[in-house]
């Protein structure tokens, strides 16, 4: 029961082409660069009168969201529709899974409806890989899987659009110091960002967080660890903020959002410690006053809205690349 792979990475087919996008980890640098290069012309499509390309015409993209997310689902829907695909949205959290149907049974049912691509968001790490493996084992490896976020593991399209944004504003990855700030422990976005930054050759990747929000072996990810945000932001070119979820207060990981903001919230004063032309990023939605001060979020160094625009182009690029393989 093995997926035909290239170099052991189940995302690549035997020709080294992308067959699924599940995680940035393990993808070679040239694959990442190719995705970013492919996204560039797609940004221009949004400027046209007819914002559509015929690439996925007649293809069905199923948004399988086992975890609620209107934002991410909407951007995938827009991206798929701009490629002329038919999009079907499934909020599994409110239907069959609750009736006891297993994940793979749900996948089998949908595959039988002539799906060409599954965009999957799931609360458990590894779920999209299980789906891809099952499709391959049951002779349906023409169906592509795009991971829209699985547990704490990965959110590859977010990582890619963040890299596209950095490349757009900063050009050369190999000269940058980048800081990722916030709840690294629970963040699939952070993991994808860290893998992408390292693969694209960023020489110094920093994580800044209290000890309770850092994984035990975080230094093994190849990052420099800071608990003190003042220290961590010194001389940084890119500040990548993460969302703090309210549940963290319940798990005895943090006492309060006020205390978090005091030590790890991004204010104009703290931002001033970074380089004067440093850019500020956030995957959204933002908690103003918790991880980021409004003055910074609305300030000239924030590139949060361009991230959203680039996100559609990057997702179009990923789907277009997968759809043709």
């Amino acid at each position: 029961m093995s997926v035909t792979t290239h170099g052991g990475n189940p995302q690549l087919n035997r020709h080294g082409e992308l067959n699924h996008l599940i995680t940035i980890e393990g993808l070679p640098r040239d694959v990442l660069t190719r995705i970013l290069d492919t996204a560039a012309p797609f940004t221009e499509v949004a400027e046209r009168e007819v914002k559509k390309l015929p690439l996925l015409r007649g293809k069905s993209v199923f948004n399988l969201f086992f975890e609620n997310s209107t934002r991410t689902r909407t951007t995938f829907e827009i991206a798929a529709k701009r490629l002329s695909a038919d999009v079907i949205n499934l909020n599994i959290s409110t239907s069959s899974a609750n009736k006891g149907e297993t994940l793979l049974d749900t996948v089998d049912n949908l595959a039988a409806m002539q799906a060409d691509m599954f965009v999957v968001r799931h609360a458990s790490s590894g779920a999209p890989y299980l789906i891809a493996q099952h499709l391959a084992a049951t002779g349906r490896d023409h169906i592509h899987v795009v991971n829209a976020g699985d547990g704490r593991h990965a959110h590859p399209t977010q990582g890619l659009l963040d890299m596209y944004t950095i490349r757009h504003f900063k050009k050369d990855f190999t000269r940058l110091t980048v800081a990722v700030v916030g709840d690294i422990l629970h963040s699939r976005v952070a993991r994808s960002q860290i893998h992408a930054l390292k693969t694209l050759g960023v020489p110094e990747v920093r994580v800044i967080a209290p000890k309770t929000l850092l994984p035990a072996a975080v230094d093994r990810l190849g990052v420099r660890v800071f608990n003190d945000m003042q220290e961590g932001l010194r001389g940084v070119d890119v500040v990548m903020m993460l969302r703090l979820q309210n549940e963290r207060m319940q798990g005895a990981l943090l006492p309060s959002t006020q205390e978090f903001f005091k030590s790890w919230g991004l204010t104009p004063e703290k931002l001033a410690l970074a380089k004067p032309d440093a850019i500020v990023m956030h995957p959204g939605p933002m908690n103003r006053g918790v991880e980021i001060d409004s003055a910074v979020a609305d300030g000239r160094q924030a590139v949060i809205l361009p991230q959203v625009t680039f996100g559609i182009a990057v997702r179009m690029a990923v789907m277009a690349m997968l759809g043709g393989n």
């Binding site: 082409e17 190719r34 290069d37 492919t38 560039a40 012309p41 940004t43 221009e44 499509v45 046209r48 009168e49 007819v50 559509k52 390309l53 015929p54 690439l55 277009a320 690349m321 759809g323 043709g324 393989n325």
Partner: protein, 168 residues
Amino acid sequence: MPIPQLPDAEALCGALADAMRPHVDASATALVGIHTGGVWIAERLHAALGLKIALGSIDVSFHRDDYNQRGLHANARSSQIPFDVDGAHIVIVDDVLYTGRTIRAAMNEIFDYGRPGRVDLAVLSDRGGRELPVAPTWCPHALSLPVAQMLALERSDDGRLSFRLMEK
């Protein structure tokens, strides 16, 4: 089959411009070159004909009809149409006309920007082998090639255009 003599691309550009001159309006005709060879030729024509409207360029990668067979074309570039397409007189410029599929894709792409008033086609050479009902408005050269051979336009470092024959 004897190797056909390759034409002088520079001379053909001049001939093409001469053929087009009586039929274009310097202030109202827009050129759109197809990457990459068509863009080089369009630059020459734009200068030779003294056209006022800025030059457009398109990459047809996203409108190709062989996506399902061959996947997404690598190195796709952005298209640039710096003028209003609605009602415009547009001349599509390409280097070599072959099956006609590239021209079909180019027209589809242009129509995504608006509804042109008139579309013409200018190519440097027609090598035959059409698979769609596409015909050039102006074309100063024609030759017949076997299926295994490709005619390609090249530009040297000093900007000189020339043709080359390649095996597929």
